[in-house]
Amino acid sequence: MGGFLPPAERRSSALLGLYVALSLLLLLIGDRLPQSGPRGVGAWIFAPFDRVVLSLDRAAAAWRDNRELHQRIAELEIENARLRLQGIENDQLREQLGLRTYRNYALKPVEVLALSGEPVPSAATLSAGAHQGVHEGDVVVTRDGLLGRIGESYPGLSRAVLLTDLNSAVACEVESTGVLGVLRFTSTPYPRLVLTGVPLSDTVRVGERVVTSGLSRRYPRAIPVGQVRRVGPDPTGLVQDIEIEPAARVSRIRHAFVIPHPAPAEDQP
């Protein structure tokens, strides 16, 4: 082959032959050769370049992250400002519509002098009456939740009708879903609080909190009442039978608080 080729081409052909022979030799016996030495040299040569490229790569990544985080912060700040404005606007609108805004009630502490009712107490005698500013219709609560309302007021004493009274009815809602119902006490088949009037189509789950709905003229909104203990179909099959575990422990109360004149929403200007 080399005889009829020009010298330059002969040289390149020979060189190629050498490379091919070396490559084939390496393919055949390369795995048996010690490679850690050449690889170490390669790593030593390339390490500074790799570091430079890696630094550039990291700088680029940091720059990208920084930009994304700045954008996220800006978005959150805008959202926060918007929510703050909406909160103020909501308060103003509720005020203009004459709706009650959420506020802390003035609590008047009272002592529970006596409990009456069997087997579950249904009424309590309180240590404050009309002279102390406690009037009929005032709401009675404990630190855990709703207890009842003042049914009768005397000069120095008052009598509270508890949730466990058979004639008590409290308009309530399930806190997380807004499902409405009326809380009543029933003694059949055993004494218990039941959220009545809840259609079968409404979803209520065990453990959900129940609060006053504010739809009642007697109780302000969002006072804790209890927690759903059991859910099942009513014997009539028309509504749900939802048993409530009361937030306030009726049989163990010694002290309570009266919320004087809890004006219902309809009475607001």
Binding site: R11, S23, L27, F49, L54
Partner: protein, 168 residues
């Protein structure tokens, strides 16, 4: 000496690109065959002697970077450099179409050769075939585009015409 320095620079830059920026692309399934690209361009520009030399040493360096099959890249790239260098005498090397076709074929052959060493049977044949095709289909236009940009930036052709070379 100047040629050797340039060759070393090409080897270093190519291997750096391969192990950094392009490895991220490769992890996403797009293998830009920078080895084939570098050898092809070097061979088109400098002829078969330098083409095969560049291919052999670049391939050898890439082989040392890998764990197995020492000589795999060296053999393929040396042959490729020689073949492209020889072909370069008869081709219009500054033509974008020529560059596109040559890069496509070279990448296809190099990737197919490399894939043969890790071929896992008929089950993976379609996937491997697709990978080879994607690699060639990406490397060829990307390489041609880069050459076009370099030519535009430098303001003069990267490769002289074949008949002018022959006269000189």
């Amino acid at each position: 000496m100047k040629q050797i320095g340039a060759l070393l620079t090409v080897v270093v830059v190519t291997l750096l690109l391969r192990s950094t920026a392009l490895s991220a692309l490769a992890a996403r399934g797009v293998v830009l065959d920078v080895l084939a690209f570098a050898v092809t361009i070097w061979a088109l520009r400098n002829g078969e002697t330098w083409g095969s030399t560049c291919g052999f040493f670049l391939g050898l360096a890439a082989d040392f970077d890998a764990a197995h099959w020492l000589g795999r890249h060296a053999l393929a790239l040396a042959l490729m450099g020689y073949a492209v260098g020889r072909l370069g005498r008869t081709l219009v090397r500054d033509s974008a179409r020529t560059q596109l076709v040559v890069l496509f074929i070279c990448t296809l052959l190099h990737q197919a050769w490399c894939a043969a060493f890790s071929f896992g049977g008929a089950e993976g044949a379609v996937v491997t075939g697709m990978r080879i095709l994607i690699s060639a289909a990406v490397t060829a236009p990307a390489g041609t585009l880069i050459l076009g940009v370099v030519r535009r930036v430098t303001g003069h052709p990267l490769f002289s015409h074949a008949h002018l070379d022959a006269k000189s």
